[in-house]
Symmetry: C2
Subunit: 268 residues, 2 copies
């Protein structure tokens, strides 16, 4: 299995899903391609930058950007730079796996944050990556690499291991076939190590990522279930390595995950 080192900005860059296929696609796909030119590292783009990153001619981008601005999907600032518009944020906030999940989970995440003063994270799986839906930074918390709306490898973080442990077999096989990103000397990268971690996660009902993302962080994560019993999200605490044992954190995280699962199930 190939093992890659961590490319710059990798953790924050959305996957270029179907990027190549879209380049020749119909007009809606081209408009979406323009939106996908915006990433956490590229939040403000000129017309020619949008053209370069979307792979579309400037004339096409010019015409489609005008339509996107008229609707509010893009906004243009006085300097002529474009950025994602509030209207798109509003529509995006209706995604059940985005703000919908966050709304149901937030009271419990805040309890966990107030009690522990540590980092609390809420994440879902999108394909073979983790997407962070919420993060509350604790006042005494260890620095973490993640941000809300950012992506990360499934294999490194606590939430990622939970989401991978309960993912369909074909997703697991795809991830285990690599490449698997190495973040530290302790990151799991071989199929053997990863299979053992996933089996352990399922057996215990929680995952541990001990210095597998950064050498000073320990994370413990637990699964959140929907009404059908499917794992739809994961919640974690991220603390300084050495400050507390995983088995001491696990009951806290699992209780919180169960409370969030109950809140999700109670919804219409």
């Amino acid at each position: 299995m190939p093992v890659t080192s961590l490319p710059t900005g990798r953790a924050d860059r959305p996957a270029g899903r179907g990027e190549r296929a879209e380049r020749t696609g119909p007009v809606v796909a081209r408009a979406l391609q323009i939106l996908a030119a915006f990433t956490p590292d590229r939040r403000s783009l000129t017309l020619s930058e949008m053209s370069r990153h979307s792979g579309l001619p400037v004339s096409t981008v010019h015409r489609l950007a005008a339509e996107l601005v008229a609707w509010g999907a893009l906004e243009r600032d006085p300097s002529g730079c474009y950025h994602i518009g509030l209207r798109l944020w509003e529509i995006g906030s209706l995604a059940p796996r985005g703000l919908g999940l966050r709304e149901a989970a937030l009271p419990f995440l805040e309890d966990l944050s107030q009690v522990t003063r540590e980092n609390v994270q809420l994440a879902v799986r999108e394909g073979t990556e983790v997407v962070f839906v919420e993060r509350i930074a604790g006042s005494k918390a260890v620095p973490v690499l993640t941000r809300v709306g950012g992506r990360f490898a499934l294999t490194a973080t606590g939430v990622g291991l939970v989401l991978l442990a309960y993912a369909p077999a074909e997703v697991q096989e795809q991830v285990l076939a690599g490449p698997v990103t190495r973040y530290t000397e302790r990151t799991l990268t071989t199929p053997h190590e990863l299979r053992a971690a996933l089996a352990g996660t399922r057996a215990r009902g929680y995952a541990v990522s001990d210095r597998q993302v950064t050498m000073d962080a320990l994370s413990v994560a637990a699964p959140i279930h929907d009404a059908d019993g499917d794992v739809v999200a994961a919640v974690s605490l991220v603390v300084h390595h050495g400050s507390v044992t995983p088995s001491a954190l696990a009951p806290l995280v699992r209780t919180s995950a169960r409370a969030i699962s109950r809140a999700l199930t109670a919804r219409p």
Copy 2:
């Protein structure tokens, strides 16, 4: 000036901006029309519901929805219902006036929440309405009508009065020309009352909404400035009416607004 009573669900419904004009527009506008069929009250739609709410033929919706699903802007659940996809939430989270503003403001909002245990709200203006970007519910807080991603009249809430007080003259005239929604017997609805409230807000540097949204809530709001000195957002505390005077809350809210303004200005 016409005065309307509060229609059901009004506060939560996004404005149908340019809805009529889009019905005959080009293909990108039609795709965006489909996305705009989703609202806080309609988060899950069938194909025929998308057709009805977008005003587009089922055959068109069918074709465009397939493109939107392929990209991840929509997701389809096992029952065949569509909802907004996580990919759109990710892109939407890049809006500087959405998650970008929220990221800069959150530490200060959390401070305000921890110190007061009351509702803390962060909002921006979109046209002639308020859009709530963040809300932290206090543990002893009064119930509020707002939600993240939801809209509200500029004339009723504390944050709305701040955003209207510092809005361009043409926006103020448009709002004052009505209709102005009445929420309680104390809601300001005449141009004379509103002009006085806006002048008072500018003179004091903060706005007060005393039982103007619900009869048990008092809100005090202050403006957040960007690097150019323009008012780009507002922050508020919402407390039980009668529990504390507006002049006691104002220094807290204003200090928080200044700290957020400084954080925004310090960003690249």
